[in-house]
Symmetry: D2
Subunit: 366 residues, 4 copies
């Protein structure tokens, strides 16, 4: 198994290396009749495209998506949707040196141990470019969710010690801030901090928060396929993520039950609601109809120009300064990847939940 | 889908409710020839059994496991292993009242939304007794790991604000401390704190840490089936877990790359090693041969005797005091569940990795 | 993997050996709200129960099913349904001899090669008793299909050279004939033939036909998960089945296109229909709304009392007369197993098809 | 689910339509280190390529495969292998008419019922061109099998009433005969018969036989994932296949146990062997070390120029003569597809069997 397929009913199968011919994804299980064109997918790819600010790798790629199958007259046909982004700006020369040693914080060593060798050009399969497949598939998943009235919004919660002020934040700023921060004051502070770190040839980590609105109650399966377990896997599968927490998350460890329990009430329309949302919208692994909220910890870019100690394959300890074209921070470009993986996981879980009640199944077929 | 099956090659299928006839698990994919008897499984079940300290539910259950299939002359045969624990101390009368309302912090409401109704007796399928299946299957997984020289040790890292002092801790204490704490001083402090909380009719949360030693490098699949993604799903699928982090975890968000990267070196035996382990033993989703370390946040028991506001199904806001037999803290009994789920996930990932290299496959069949 | 789990959404996980403690199945993915009690399942188990005619093994087993989970007040809850049939009449002594040699036509040798050893008592996991799990799960699947207006009827088409006369056959006879033949004249002829074969210490094969009515058009997935591919796998997984054919089946090999194509027409209600049904109700792997028809070839019971040559494990060629309690023909008792596996496959395929059209998905969630 | 993904460990994900941009496949789970280049795959694609004889569609396609990922310096890297064949000779004009009606024997109606509409150009996803993906993936699977000493040979057993004489047949002829027949005399007779059928504007069916040699004993899982069940699904998923039988197949229905049982003996090297092979190399769903033999029934091409009655979508009964570029017989070009699907199924089953024995697993990791 190589683990590049995700999903139970809405399945995605991804492929591609940083310096191969291209990157792509096949979606197997998208319902027929969804309006879909390349522009809709491109809009999401543009959000993760490199070369747009000085805080991202200068590698110039248009990352233009092409549909190869599954669409007929701008509608999905129900059969597999194959999407491909050809690589145009591979500079394998940049990377030839790293073939001989193991970069700290990278998958070079673990790949060699697993496979016996690796496509070392630009990180090969473990490159951040792999996330193009996720974002393209996520764009399709988001189009499905939109039809169901479900929205996903992710943004940078913090970079280093700079945290957004949620009260003064505005979702419209997410697409304006070079750091995908809804709070421009924090964004400016982060800019100054990053400028320093770039000069120091270093990189920085941060936290992404994601909020899902419009989620119906009753989605998620009780034991192993809990909604949080599946979102968790989807998000932890993104390269630089080192942790995930839902609702109050690690904060629950110092709360009491009376503090942490969310009281139910009937809202003015008689709908069941909760006074607080420590649970992050999930009870017993099943959505409770309130907002789903989670946060992911993103590590600092491991590729830094600062001198580091490591080893080469011939037995020596060496000093390296990683050259090449690297982001000084992963967080902002990962925001759309978090949205994408959330969308993919949610569509799959929604589809999985369609057989929960016999009544609904009988109605469906009659 | 009801999501009670876990795994790709080493598959477990679980069933049972708190107040049904019993709880069980079928393991499909255990290799033939493993020495296995009921005592080996019972030893793990005893670690999560209720009624052993005043910090756990007084429900009296022996939780005696019986093997129904898959074993012949104390060896696994390679065919499904069916294990069952019959419930003996159901007191459904205790729970009849909760049928009419939604307990805060519980899955009552989300189950009703999902299925239209629920087996409300003792939480039904969403009861903590469901973890019996996990622990029984985990005991088998641990026996396999032992054959491979891999060990898993989980313990309570913190309860409320009381955190263990790792320097002064001793793994032997884990089975002595009523809180599964390797540091008895912290354990004593927690005991006093819990006594107060019990008097206040409240409950407390905490953090469990888990360390895996002896893990070979090269296990885990690069994209969606990363080792951390799959462990993450396994752990987040445990009832009360609200977050998971690997290595430095959320701490990476305030580190720089030069701080967070782990330098490689050759140890005295010429083996590749790392000077630090911020990565928690996983690089690019693949084990790097060092210890795997992660932490899980456990919420306070939602069932508390303290008065809470909630709603009933007939449209009223009501005050409730949850009666019944509940743990004032979930953490200690969840420790063995964390070990079990880790073991199950690791066995599955180890088996998945056996086809990574053609050379090994060819050697295997020749 | 041990391959005892079947299904994508409606999943069944089976376990048990001929001479172990029992046989069982866990159904994961049955919708909530289905009326289900033990009698409903028992009715199907009774159809495959041994000891009812002289043409079946004299082993005395009541094969009484017990529900252990997943049912609350005679309704399925949506969580796993665990069903168990305890073995009561194991006579391991009967079988001890066969531990030392490989019975012709049996899985003794292939099991030993696969696992290194085997539970030889009564065939262990490869015993026909394994089908108890299939029939119990099939009973639940049939109850679901009934709610959707879908009926499955299997019967013995032929035994040896005796074939039913379909014109003069009556489905009511299936439960009357000791051979599950809807044509009693053929059944009587088969009885005489079998009496001869029993005297000759031999056994006979046959063909089972299965017809599904009420199947909606549009079920089945275009490429690998074609309706016929999945039914095919389900049926070929039954022990003694050596072939399956749909509609005209192998007969198509000598037909021309103009003979084999089924012409479409509009019936008196304006519904699309076909003048013939060479296709067996499936076009391009997807149901076309007409009857689904297929046949399965069932081999003669391999256990015969007649002298056979084989080998023992110590290197000798030996003559054996298989003792023990065996059916002289597998066909009649396999009929209900064919129905069961068809039902299980159909429910899974129906559930898989619920996301084919976006319109339906949107309607479902709104 | 759209069912275009096959496999448990060696997974293939296929996409593409007859008149879309291309056809492709992603292989997820190919071990690293396999020598693989485009020529190796092209050799298989050339065997199914159209336009080579007058017995195949005159559509001119080079069907040139391109590798887009997963290969580094002519070795597989262990990560997904993406292969694509671009369509170059789409003539959608040929097909526009068929949008309005349902061709007999085709999936037009069942697709419309499933998805609400269809990509009608050349059959869209249900076109025989879909098998390009299978053959490309099969070429990779065959390369793996070759490393393990396993060979697969499929050929045309019969066309209409013309059956090969196996005694006088020669496998070398398979690539010479326009019908993939190893017996050239039968091939010539078939040629004459086909010439007549072409003049009659009709088509013919036939039977393909497939033999696997070098298969180790012990492969296949006892219950649902029997070797024959999985091969069966793989083969029945090929468009025109209406039946499959293993070994003596439907012939077993008229045999007695004493005739059908294969006696074991020790061969001159002391290896376990069987005197006959009625079982087709599979006992209890597990390979027994002898040749695996099965046959598939292939229906006559449904697209015929002869006048047929059918209906259009606006409610009329109409007469149609299917134009376009069609094969008068599917059998010969399906031979390589049968080989491909067999190879894919076998690789997956071999990989699944690697965890059968604990001893082997322990040895593997030590």
């Amino acid at each position: 198994m190589s683990g590049s397929i995700y999903g139970n009913i809405f399945k995605i199968s991804t492929w591609g290396e940083s310096h191969g011919k291209g990157i792509g994804v096949v979606i197997d299980g998208c319902p027929a009749g969804l309006t879909l064109n390349e522009e809709m997918v491109q809009a999401y790819l543009n959000r993760r495209r490199p070369g747009q600010t000085k805080y991202a790798t200068p590698r110039k790629e248009n990352d233009t998506v092409q549909f190869l199958s599954g669409i007929f007259e701008e509608k999905t046909t129900g059969t597999p949707i194959s999407m491909v982004v050809m690589n145009t700006n591979q500079q394998s020369g940049d990377y030839s040196e790293i073939a001989s040693y193991y970069r700290p914080g990278h998958a070079d060593y673990s790949f060699d141990e697993k496979y016996g060798f690796r496509d070392y050009r630009g990180g090969g399969r473990s490159s951040g470019r792999e996330t193009i497949s996720r974002v393209a598939a996520g764009a399709v998943a988001k189009a499905i969710l939109e039809e169901l009235g479900i929205k996903i919004c992710a943004y940078t919660k913090s970079i280093g010690n700079i945290t957004i002020d949620y009260e003064n934040s505005n979702p419209d700023n997410i697409l304006i801030s070079p750091f995908a921060m809804p709070d421009l004051k924090a964004s400016n502070a982060a800019e100054q901090m990053l400028d320093t770190k770039i000069k120091e040839l270093d990189s920085v980590g941060g936290v992404i928060e994601c909020i899902v609105t419009g989620m119906p109650a009753g989605i998620g399966e009780p034991v192993f396929d809990k909604l949080d377990a599946n979102i968790g896997k989807a998000i932890l599968s993104i390269g630089a993520v080192k942790g995930i927490e839902f609702g109050t998350g690690f904060g629950v460890s110092t709360l009491t039950g009376s503090e942490n329990n969310d009281s139910f009430y009937y809202d003015t329309e008689g709908k069941v609601a909760k006074k607080t949302n420590h649970a992050g919208g999930i009870l017993g692994g099943i959505s409770d109809g309130s907002e789903i909220i989670f946060r992911a910890a993103i590590k600092p870019t491991p590729s830094i120009a600062k001198t580091q100690e490591t080893i080469n394959k011939t037995g020596d300890t060496i000093s390296v300064n990683i050259k090449g074209r690297h982001d000084p921070i992963i967080v902002p470009r990962a925001v759309v990847v978090v949205e994408a993986m959330t969308a993919i996981a949610l569509v799959d879980m929604l589809f999985m939940s369609m057989t929960s009640k016999l009544d609904n199944v009988v109605k469906f077929f009659k």
